[in-house]
Structures are given as structure tokens and as C-alpha cells.
């Protein structure tokens, strides 16, 4: 993923991160108020049991802020006292929950093996026990003791948290730093306390607040049924029950008790969500952010000099921005290149250069948080950045197709390979199932898949990465496209398999004459298959030329520095000419030449203004104003 969402955010404690959000502040504030119920004897304006039969069922007033109930008791005071018993109940339940779930979960996840199997089996069984029946039994035995019920609930409900803690502990156990700690000879206890538990803290807090919310629901439910402390003791559930008896005459009484239950559960739920949000490393590439679809289309680009020569694909001044939690980041700035039928253009760069984003932008398949802000993508005379969804859909597969880096995740894991290919074939041309099937077998033979009949019956997880990439190529070829976009198609593959896939692509290209836009970071792959090269750095094309010219003598210092950084370029066991520093992420890119801080040829004027892509010859362009210095180097 080259969208620069790597977070340089300061590392903070969970509590401070939660309090930094307004949701967190409100919910924590409310829960603090809730805890104040513990001081009910000090705070309550009246005795919760004091009856005043002259003032029954009153609406809120100055003397009774929340009114009075059917026996003339002060509702606010009863709420405070009821809250006290709820808090105590929750704390007991949560304590039991944590005591059971956390040690078992961490131990099962980290130790694995037999202990894990038994613990999970036990959790399975406990999860199938109907909690309510056990709770009812407990309440009778312990003479309507809510404490006993809550502790039981905490223990019985622990299997859920245990599973989640176990899952987290298992993930952390896979992390290499845990292996590193094991290799240092740290004991298991040390590893659990130093490395495993700190990572589980987030999920534990989330699960605790969710459980507390559920516990409130159950606690009030049981007291509602009259299974808690007998009347006249004040409980929230009991108050709802009493309100139910006067439903017709005084519906107001449903509000205070029900409202306070709902608000407490809500606060706990939101607290859980907030903690999850601040602890989760956002795993989706868009981080949940979306750009309004209406904004997707850029303003019509200023008509650049009418395209002299009509290329199959012509990208001009393409800029793309991504919405990140820290604002909008421009990932591509004014990218441009041409690609003709039969050519293979290598889009070369390091991570963060924007090469994959360029490929996706051409197809109109940016992530939900990305949008084209300027420029044009003209494919066979058609402007794609302003094409409708329908127009794009009509092109995909039949005119432009895609294969991507991770062939294993490019195939839908739920469908057999044959079924997926058949669907793609039939989405291009209306044909009978039988004809489509014949065509699928043809395609599979075209990409040299051994034993196509048998292969078609397999699921994606039953084949190797190399085979999966062949299947993906077959899918891409199904609509006989004019342009194939290949996003690092061999990066995840072994070198011998890579060679086979490159040979396959070359053969198919020779037979069909399609154009290929190949995204890669590997100069060897470029040398093997590309006819043209566009080198990208920090969201810009810095050099573009036919491949012989780039390998012969590049006209941008980044290109030559990148080639020199290959271990093939240095003598064995001598230092390689590395480029100092790193590719700057969007947002911290330099004005002027973006490469100047790492460039050996940088001069003062490199910082003066943004460097345009200078057309040196008809086929050759460079974003360097000191190319003459490069030419004289040996």
C-alpha cells in the first residue's frame, strides 16, 4: 500500500487518547456522574423510602426535581440509591469477568497447545449454557442476591472476552519481537507481562465496557422482574416495574428510570467504541474515511496543447489526493505519460512514489478516500477521469484489465476458480454456460495452467501463488483487453516463478499486441520486459524514456542513483552507492525539486521553483534542471 497513511502521531496512553476525543470526554464525564451515585446518602435530597401520600405521582417541580412516585417518594433520591446498587452490581460482575477471562485468555493465546485446546473446549461448553436459567437458579439459592447473580454472570460471560483476549494474544505471539524476546531467554511470565499484556490492554478495556453495559441491562432486568432486593428498596429495574403499574395515569415515571438506564448503557457502549477506535490501527486502507462521491470528478482540466500524437493511453497532469485523519494529502502531483499499443511501460519507483496509485487512478479504482483533483486520463480518445460509473464499467475487462500484486487475495476465496472465470467471461460476452466453460478452458490453456479441467474445480486457497497469478491473467485476458495494467504482478512470487510469469506475459503480448502498464520496483523486471520507462519519485514522474535510453544513460539523478543502489552494481562485499535518507511521505515533500535533499548534484536553484518535466527529445523527458551535469559523468 503506497497511500501514505503511516502515522507519525505521538504515542499516547489510552486514557489520554480517549479524553482527546469529544465522545470520550462526554462519556467519561457521564460515567463519573454515575459513579457519584455511590455517595447517594450524601447527595440524595430526600429519604428514598419516605412516603408522602399527599404528593403522589407529581411531575417534576422545585421540591421534587424528578417528581414523585405512586407512594409519594422522591424519584431523584430513589434513582441515586438505585444507581448505587447498580454500580456495586456492575463492579462485582466486572471483577469476576476479568479474573476469569484475562488470565485464561492470555494463557490460552500465548501458550497454545493442549492448554489452549482444553480452554477453548470449556469456553465452547460454557457459551452453550443458557445463562438466564443459571441466573434464575442462583437468585433463588442466594435469596435474591444480585451480587451472586452478577458474579455468576461475569464468570459465565467470560468466555466471550476470553476468546477475544486469546485471539489478540495469539496475534501478538506471532509478532517477531516476541520471538526476539524468547530468544533472549526471557521467561514466559516476563514475556506475558512485558510484551503480551500491554498489547491486550485495548481489547480488555473495550470488552470490559461492553460487558458492563450488558451487566447493567441484566441487573435492571432482574430487578424489574422483582428478583432483586425486595421492595421497598430502590432499584432502577424496580422503578420501571412500579412505573408500569401506573402506565395509564402517570407515563412520566417511565422516563427517569428508563432514561438513566439507557444513558448509562449508551455511555459504556460509546466508551468501548472510542477505546477501540483509538487503539485499533486502522486496518482498512481508507481508515474509514470517505470522500463524498460528488467530489470525485475534477474540474475540467485546462486544455493542454492538443495531444500531438494520439496514444492509446495518455495521462496528463494527473493529481490525486487522499483524505487522511490529518487532512487531505496530495499523493500524485501532475503525473503524465503516454502508452501505445504493443508497448510495455514500466512505472518504476520505491514505496511512496505513487506508482500503484497511478495505476489504480487510470482504472478509476481509487480507494474510497481518494480522488482525482486535476489532470486527465485519455484512453483511446475517451476522457476517463470524468467518465460515469457506467462508462468506466463498460471499459473494464473488455478494453482495460488488471492483474495485481497478491494473486492469492485477488481471487474470491468463496468461489471455485472455474466459476469465477466463467462469470468474468460471461460478463464480457453473452454466451451459454457451456460455451463460457469451453472459453474458460481455452483461457486456462492460454496461460499454461496444467490440467485445466481439474484446476477449474479448485478453490483459490488450494493453488500456489504462481498458479493463482496465471488464473488472474486468464481472468484479465477474458475480455481481450487493449491495455493490461499489471501492478507488481511478480513481486510476491519466487524468482523462478516470476521468470515464468514474465515469459507468459511477453508471449501473450506478442500474440495479442496489447499494451501493458507494468508497475514495478525491480530494474531487472524492467530490463526483461519493458519497452518504455517512467520513473516516479514522491508523486511525480521524474524521467521517462524508451528503455534503452534509460539503461544507456539516464537523465535524472534519482534514476541513476536508484540503479546504482542495486547490489548488482557494486563489487562483491564493497559498499553500495546507497541513496541517503528516505522517500518523503506526502505532506513533507520539499518545494522545488523533491529529490534535492538526497541528490548529489543539487544546487541552489533546485529549490527556487517547482521543476517541470522538461521534454529533452521527442521521447525523452526529465524533471531535472541540471541534466548537463549527469551527461558528463562517466
Amino acid at each position: 500500500m503506497t497511500t501514505a497513511t503511516e502515522s507519525p502521531a505521538k504515542k499516547r496512553g489510552i486514557v489520554r487518547s480517549v479524553l482527546a476525543t469529544w465522545r470520550g470526554r462526554i462519556t467519561v464525564g457521564f460515567l463519573l456522574l454515575f459513579v457519584c451515585c455511590l455517595a447517594a446518602p450524601l447527595l440524595a435530597p430526600a429519604d428514598p423510602l419516605h412516603q408522602d401520600l399527599r404528593h403522589i405521582l407529581e411531575l417534576p417541580s422545585g421540591s421534587h426535581w424528578l417528581g414523585t412516585d405512586s407512594l409519594g417518594r422522591d424519584v431523584l433520591s430513589r434513582l441515586l440509591y438505585g444507581g448505587r446498587s447498580s454500580i456495586v452490581g456492575i463492579l462485582e460482575g466486572v471483577a469476576a469477568h476479568l479474573v476469569v477471562a484475562v488470565p485464561l485468555g492470555v494463557a490460552a493465546g500465548y501458550l497454545g497447545g493442549r492448554f489452549d485446546r482444553y480452554a477453548m473446549r470449556a469456553a465452547d461448553i460454557v457459551m452453550s449454557v443458557p445463562t438466564i436459567v443459571i441466573l434464575l437458579a442462583i437468585l433463588t439459592i442466594f435469596n435474591r442476591s444480585i451480587a451472586a447473580a452478577m458474579i455468576t454472570l461475569g464468570a459465565l460471560g467470560a468466555s466471550g472476552m476470553m476468546r477475544i483476549v486469546r485471539g489478540t494474544a495469539m496475534t501478538v505471539r506471532q509478532e517477531l519481537y516476541v520471538s526476539a524476546a524468547e530468544l533472549l531467554g526471557l521467561s514466559r511470565t516476563q514475556i506475558i507481562f512485558r510484551h503480551i499484556l500491554p498489547r491486550c490492554r485495548g481489547v480488555i478495556i473495550v470488552q470490559t465496557s461492553l460487558f458492563a453495559a450488558i451487566a447493567i441491562g441484566i441487573q435492571t432486568g432482574l430487578t424489574f422482574l422483582g428478583l432483586g432486593p425486595p421492595p421497598p428498596a430502590a432499584t432502577w429495574g424496580g422503578m420501571v416495574n412500579e412505573a408500569a403499574t401506573t402506565l395509564t395515569t402517570a407515563p412520566w415515571l417511565l422516563v427517569p428510570a428508563g432514561g438513566v438506564i439507557a444513558l448509562t448503557v449508551l455511555a459504556l457502549g460509546i466508551l468501548g467504541d472510542t477505546v477501540r477506535d483509538v487503539t485499533a490501527q486502522s486496518h482498512t486502507s481508507s481508515g474509514g474515511l470517505r470522500v463524498k462521491p460528488a467530489k470525485r470528478r475534477p474540474e475540467a482540466p485546462a486544455p493542454t496543447a492538443a495531444p500531438e500524437r494520439r496514444a492509446l493511453l495518455s495521462v496528463r497532469d494527473l493529481s490525486v489526493s487522499f483524505l487522511t485523519p490529518r487532512g487531505e494529502a496530495e499523493v500524485l502531483t501532475g503525473v503524465g505519460f503516454d502508452l501505445d499499443a504493443g508497448q510495455t511501460l514500466g512505472l518504476v519507483g520505491e514505496s511512496g512514489s505513487g506508482k500503484s496509485v497511478t495505476a489504480r487512478a487510470v482504472l478509476g479504482l481509487l480507494e474510497a478516500n481518494g480522488r482525482v483533483t486535476a489532470g486527465s486520463v485519455v484512453f483511446d480518445g475517451q476522457e476517463l477521469t470524468r467518465a460515469s460509473r457506467k462508462e468506466l464499467a463498460a471499459l473494464r475487462g473488455t478494453r482495460i484489465a488488471l492483474i495485481s500484486q497478491e494473486p492469492m487475495v485477488a481471487l474470491d476465496p468463496s468461489f471455485r476458480i472455474g466459476a469465477q472465470l466463467t462469470e468474468i467471461v460471461r460478463s464480457h460476452t453473452k454466451m451459454s454456460r457451456r460455451d463460457a466453460r469451453r472459453r474458460v478452458l481455452e483461457l486456462m490453456e492460454l496461460v499454461e495452467l496444467p490440467d485445466p479441467e481439474e484446476m477449474a474445480r479448485r478453490y483459490p486457497f488450494q493453488i500456489s501463488g504462481g498458479m493463482a497469478q496465471r488464473v488472474a491473467i486468464a481472468a484479465a485476458l477474458a475480455g481481450s483487453p487493449d491495455l493490461l495494467i499489471a501492478d507488481e504482478p511478480t513481486t510476491a512470487l519466487d524468482v523462478t516463478v516470476q521468470a515464468e510469469i514474465l515469459a507468459l506475459l511477453r508471449r501473450i503480448q506478442r500474440e495479442t499486441g496489447m499494451a501493458v502498464l507494468l508497475v514495478t520496483h525491480d530494474w531487472g523486471v524492467v530490463a526483461d520486459i519493458c519497452t518504455h520507462v517512467a520513473v516516479m519519485y514522491a508523486g511525480q514522474v521524474v524521467e521517462s524514456a524508451p528503455v534503452e535510453q534509460v539503461f544507456g544513460a539516464s537523465v535524472h539523478p534519482y534514476t541513476s542513483a536508484l540503479m546504482a543502489a542495486s547490489p548488482d552494481s557494486a563489487a562483491r562485499r564493497t559498499p553500495i552507492d546507497a541513496i541517503a535518507g528516505t522517500v518523503p511521505p506526502p505532506g513533507s515533500r520539499l518545494d522545488g525539486c523533491r529529490f534535492r535533499d538526497r541528490c548529489a548534484l543539487a544546487a541552489a536553484d533546485c529549490a527556487d521553483k517547482d521543476i517541470p518535466l522538461l521534454q529533452l527529445t521527442e521521447e525523452r523527458a526529465s524533471r531535472c534542471i541540471h541534466t548537463e551535469l549527469l551527461q558528463v559523468r562517466p
Binding site: V129, L139, L227, L254, S286, D412, S427
Partner: protein, 313 residues
């Protein structure tokens, strides 16, 4: 796959044993007992002892459990200590009420939850935020309270539906429908919102998956991408949440039946709890445990159908 189902079924027997054993053991520790409930607080020690002897309460609880188990194997769950009614037959008369509540609630949660969640994930925007708010409410509002609000509005205020009571489906289909509408709504509110939220999250995640991009990029129609590929792959966590929601509904039914005064298993269990009526509690316990087993079995079958890895391995 078949092994998995076999495993589930094999597990159900120890599970039933464990649940009944726990209930029996716990009830044996009860300080009060059925004899005192029947005779009241003022009963003499002799009359209590006589009644206990008559009810067999003086035997050690292990012996009583053995007797119960032996009967249970033949489908005889004993008789209620309080009413003397055969437990199996009182379960079967009340079963219809509880199932009338549970099955429509589960179906409603599944259908409405998945539809809402899917629509909000695909459409986003206002609908998405609406679903977020409603699911928070569904999470926060206690079911019994929602039930009372529904009664206050639809029964008391508008007088559209009965506030309490139950009519047999076979006696009057219209009456049955009217009598379960409010209880089912109250019971499924939480389920609908929980399933909707899970569906929304999981669909949004699948929409970002590489294979979705790949299918779109190579010309598969948006319709097929959404309804064939996304829905199918998003389904597994949704099925999990459906299972949890359904199991939770068993507990919810106890509360809801009490609010609407429905003569189902939940109200039976509540009353039996107050009366220390062990055989009845055990009977309800057996039924609830069987329900959990059936739900889990259905979930496992659904996993198998949805996930080829489970099926082929």
C-alpha cells in the same frame, strides 16, 4: 463438515448433563425450599418435615438427581412440586407461546438486520449514520423498557394492539398475530440493530478487499460484485452475530413474556424460581439448552455452506 456436525451433536449430551447437574446441585443448596413455599412462613416444623418427606426432599440431592435423570431418559421430566402438573406436558403447552415469540424475532433480526446493514454499507451517507444511531439505541435501551413504551403508545394511547395476553395461532390467526407483534418488536430491536451493525462493518471491509477490486477491474458487473461476492464473503461474521443474538433472545424472552403476560416458558421459569420448583426449572433448563444446541448446529451448517475451507477440509 459432517464430522463437525457429529461433534456438535456429541457435545450436546454432556452439555445437557452439566446444565441439569448445576441446576440440581444449586437448588439443593437452597435455604428455603418448596415445602416452605407451599405451607407458608407460619408452618410448623412437623408439617414441613411431613411434606418434605412426601415430596422426597429428604433424600440426598444426588439420589434425587439420579431419579430425575432416569426419568428424563424416558422423556419424563417429573412433576411440578407446586401444582403437581406433569412438567413435560406443561412445557409442551407453553412451548408454542415461546416459539411464537422466538422464531419470528430471529427471522426479523436476520432479514431486517442484514438488509439495513447492507444498504447502509453500500449507500453510506445519511442512511449509514442513521443505522449507526439506531444501533446504538438498540444496544442501549433495555428490552423490557422498550416493551413498556410500545405498550404505552400502541396499546394504551392508540389502542391498536392488545397490551397483554396471547391467542393460539390455531384458534385465531389474526388474534395470534396481533398478540405477538409488540412482543416480537420489543424482543428483536436489539437483534436487528446488532445484526445490522455487524453486516455494515463486515460488508465495508469486504468492499475494500483486493478481489473486489480485481472483479470490478475486470468487468464483473457491480450488481454481481455486491450480491454474489461481497454479500457472500461478508456473511460469516454476520452468521456469528446472528447466533449470538439468537442465544441472547432466549434470555430476553424471559423478560418480554413477563411484560406482556404471555404464558410461555419464560414466565413459567420466573414463577418456578420464586417457588423453588426444581423440576420445572430443570425442564425449562433442558429446553433452553436444547435450543442453544440447535442454534449452534444451524450456525455450524451455515459456516460450512459459506466457507469452502470448512467444507473441503
Amino acid at each position: 463438515m459432517l464430522r463437525l456436525i457429529g461433534h456438535r451433536i456429541a457435545m450436546s449430551i454432556p452439555l445437557l448433563l452439566i446444565v441439569s447437574l448445576i441446576v440440581f446441585a444449586l437448588e439443593a443448596l437452597v435455604p428455603g425450599d418448596a415445602a416452605r413455599t407451599i405451607l407458608g412462613e407460619n408452618a410448623t416444623a412437623q408439617s414441613l418435615a411431613a411434606l418434605r418427606d412426601q415430596l422426597g426432599l429428604n433424600d440426598p440431592w444426588t439420589v434425587r438427581y439420579g431419579d430425575w435423570l432416569a426419568g428424563a431418559f424416558h422423556g419424563d421430566l417429573g412433576t411440578s412440586i407446586i401444582s403437581g402438573v406433569d412438567v413435560s406436558s406443561s412445557l409442551s403447552t407453553r412451548l408454542g407461546v415461546t416459539l411464537s415469540l422466538l422464531i419470528p424475532s430471529m427471522l426479523l433480526s436476520a432479514v431486517a438486520g442484514i438488509a439495513l446493514g447492507f444498504a447502509s454499507a453500500v449507500r453510506g451517507g445519511v442512511l449509514g449514520r442513521f443505522i449507526d444511531v439506531v444501533s446504538l439505541l438498540g444496544f442501549a435501551l433495555p428490552g423490557f423498557w422498550v416493551a413498556l413504551i410500545l405498550v404505552a403508545f400502541f396499546a394504551v394511547q392508540l389502542d391498536l394492539l392488545p397490551a397483554t395476553g396471547y391467542q393460539e395461532l390455531t384458534v385465531s390467526p389474526g388474534g395470534w398475530l396481533k398478540s405477538i407483534i409488540l412482543p416480537v418488536l420489543a424482543l428483536s430491536l436489539h437483534g436487528i440493530t446488532a445484526v445490522a451493525k455487524q453486516t455494515r462493518d463486515s460488508v465495508m471491509e469486504v468492499l475494500e478487499a483486493d478481489y473486489v477490486k480485481f472483479l470490478r477491474a475486470n468487468g464483473v458487473s457491480e450488481r454481481s460484485v455486491r450480491y454474489r461476492h461481497v454479500l457472500r464473503n461478508a456473511a460469516i461474521p454476520v452468521v456469528t452475530s446472528l447466533g449470538l443474538v439468537s442465544v441472547g433472545m432466549l434470555g430476553g424472552a424471559v423478560f418480554i413474556e413477563n411484560v406482556f403476560v404471555l404464558p410461555g416458558l419464560g414466565s413459567l421459569a420466573t414463577q418456578a424460581t420464586l417457588d423453588h420448583d426444581v423440576p420445572v426449572i430443570l425442564g425449562v433448563g433442558v429446553f433452553f439448552t436444547l435450543s442453544v444446541i440447535v442454534i449452534n448446529l444451524l450456525i455450524d451448517i451455515a459456516y460450512g455452506l459459506l466457507n469452502p475451507k470448512v467444507r473441503v477440509s
